[in-house]
């Protein structure tokens, strides 16, 4: 009974913390965000602003992301083939 009550209290505390910490409006209004919202579509042609960032402004990051996946695949193939 006591242990269960402590568990419920802990879950409730975490839930309240998350609601207070993450709820409500995001206060971050940075110059970069304002710039992308204003010019993203006209400069890259992508109506989806996420795409305009990851293929328009920061395509180099996307290249690095594909390299990470390439290395992950290489590692899996290496270890799986060597076990046989």
């Amino acid at each position: 009974m006591g242990a269960r009550a402590v568990e419920i209290a802990a879950v409730l505390a975490v839930a309240i913390f998350l609601v207070l910490a993450l709820g409500g409006e995001h206060p971050t209004e940075t110059p970069v965000r304002a710039y992308v919202v204003e010019h993203g579509e006209e400069q890259t042609g992508a109506a989806n602003l996420v795409t305009s960032v990851y293929l328009g402004y920061r395509a180099f990051d996307t290249l690095g992301e594909t390299i990470v996946l390439l290395l992950a695949v290489s590692g899996v193939v290496l270890f799986v083939e060597h076990r046989q």
């Binding site: 042609g45 992508a46 109506a47 395509a59 996946l69």
Partner: protein, 138 residues
């Protein structure tokens, strides 16, 4: 592992639609949520579904591991080639040299479309490759 007929029938009917939805996500990346990476992973999840229902040998017969590996490497090489094409045109690595303010029919923005397509191919082949290798271990 024991399988039921339900898994068998549903996965065979569902997998083609998952491939189609993956292609939709890849090709509409500039308009709606999605893009090359997400679409590629959806395509790979169709491969996983086939591998779970029909066995990894059947999935590997549809998409041979060797061809997936070549696809991934070639797609990565083509992404680099697209980036270097920007350098050759004097605009910088991975710069968009195709978009001049006008939206083309169907592909709309050729640079974003091509890169999404290549990334979708690469991620789809890579994620499928990992899963087929791990399933083949069983």
């Amino acid at each position: 592992m024991r399988k039921t007929d339900i898994l068998d029938v549903v996965s065979r009917k569902l997998a083609p639609f998952m491939f189609l939805f993956g292609l939709y996500l890849v090709s509409h990346g500039d308009l709606s949520p999605g893009g090359g990476f997400q679409g590629g992973v959806v395509i790979a999840s169709g491969v996983i579904l086939l591998a779970m229902a029909k066995g990894s040998a059947a999935a590997a017969a549809l998409l041979p591991v060797r061809k997936l590996a070549v696809t991934e490497a070639v797609a990565f090489g083509l992404i680099l080639a697209v980036g270097l094409a920007g350098v050759l045109m004097g605009a910088g690595f991975l710069a968009d040299v195709l978009y001049d303010g006008t939206l083309l029919p169907i592909v709309r923005t050729p640079f974003v479309f091509i890169l999404n397509l290549l990334i979708g191919l690469k991620v789809g082949a890579g994620a499928s490759l990992i899963c087929l290798h791990l399933f083949a271990q069983e």
